[in-house]
Point group: C2
Chain length 209, copies 2
């Protein structure tokens, strides 16, 4: 009952929803409920180390945006009395969930979570609030997108997170004009419309804008 680490892993699922990774608990307590991935620290492991390990074990990715969120105590009579939470942002296309039937991982849309164990809804809410704020003054979304993408794809990510539609022209001005992303020169054809310019982030690490 010492400290544990819990990770809120966000992605945009192919249906365009902001989603979070939950694990179906295969043992008591709260057997059968969904819960955020987490657990105790291994011997000699740091907090950040444990968060990275959890993230990699569950999704297979490691080089993504990961930040300490908040430290809760006595989270719904859970695993530990002090729970250090993290949040991570991953590009859905790069993830490989464990195919296990026990402790099965699965993406769940943030709007409309199932019942979760250990007051994990509080953690997810807090993480979502933080993510929304970070959108406004950082380039964190780089971690939710592939290295090249269209501006519309990028805008869809913002809209999924903020839960509201944005103006195409204002969006473009903001992210291109202020140097967050830049044109690659390449374009992509997609179905029955005009080809779209592909963009990339000017800097692919956390940055205030």
């Amino acid at each position: 009952m010492a400290a544990a680490v819990v990770v809120v892993i966000f992605t945009i699922t192919p249906d365009g929803q902001l989603s979070v990774l939950l694990i179906e608990r295969a043992a008591a307590p709260e057997q059968g409920r969904w819960a955020l991935p987490g657990g105790a620290l291994l011997d000699g492991e740091s907090l950040d180390g444990a968060a990275v390990r959890k993230l990699r074990d569950e999704t297979g990715v490691a080089d993504v945006y990961l930040e300490q969120l908040f430290t809760f105590d006595r989270l719904g009579g859970g695993l530990a009395d002090v729970v250090v939470t993290y949040f991570a942002l991953v590009d859905h296309a790069r993830t490989r969930l464990r195919p296990d039937l026990e402790w099965r991982p699965q993406w769940h849309a943030v709007r409309g979570l199932p019942p979760v164990a250990f007051e994990n809804e509080r953690v997810v809410e807090y993480a979502e609030r933080r993510l929304r704020n970070k959108l406004e003054y950082t380039n964190v979304v780089y971690s939710l997108l592939p290295s090249r993408f269209t501006l519309t794809e990028m805008q869809r990510v913002y809209e999924a997170i903020l839960g509201e539609e944005m103006d195409k022209r204002n969006f473009r001005r903001r992210v291109v004009g202020l140097g967050i992303v830049r044109e690659t020169g390449a374009t992509r054809k997609q179905g029955a419309h005009r080809p779209a310019m592909l963009y990339e982030f000017s800097v692919r690490e956390p940055m205030s804008v």
Copy 2:
């Protein structure tokens, strides 16, 4: 060696400096060094509870701005392997430090700290950065000022924290015009000049502006 709580208590000392409360360690390890107030949780105590207790024990105040800051691990081989840090803002005039000679508390200007134990300089730096950011989009300074104050006093607080001078007229427009503070009607005479209007905060609790 479980979790401990540490509190970064900020105030503006009468000399106008942003200062932080440190305790002189009277026992090993790091005997004789300065360190932030902190310690283990009492039995059954919550993290927030421990932070409030520490704050009250050291300064005598309780109803002030207090926020969880960050959770560090292995802070310079200190008391605990997981250290949950908080930061608080107190009005210097209301504080009563313990007069003890052992474990003596004392205010230290943030620019020019003495050597501190357990990498506490990292914690103070982090807290100062957070405080500077919070100034820009919240009303947290209410907790550093008495209930009535002149705009010049308030501006001095901002300047002490940001470490730069500000324009009087722009400052006034911001805090009055946007409704952060309002006139009380009363004035204060102070020495050989024109009496100054006293102001108060429109809302005396944490608020985004």
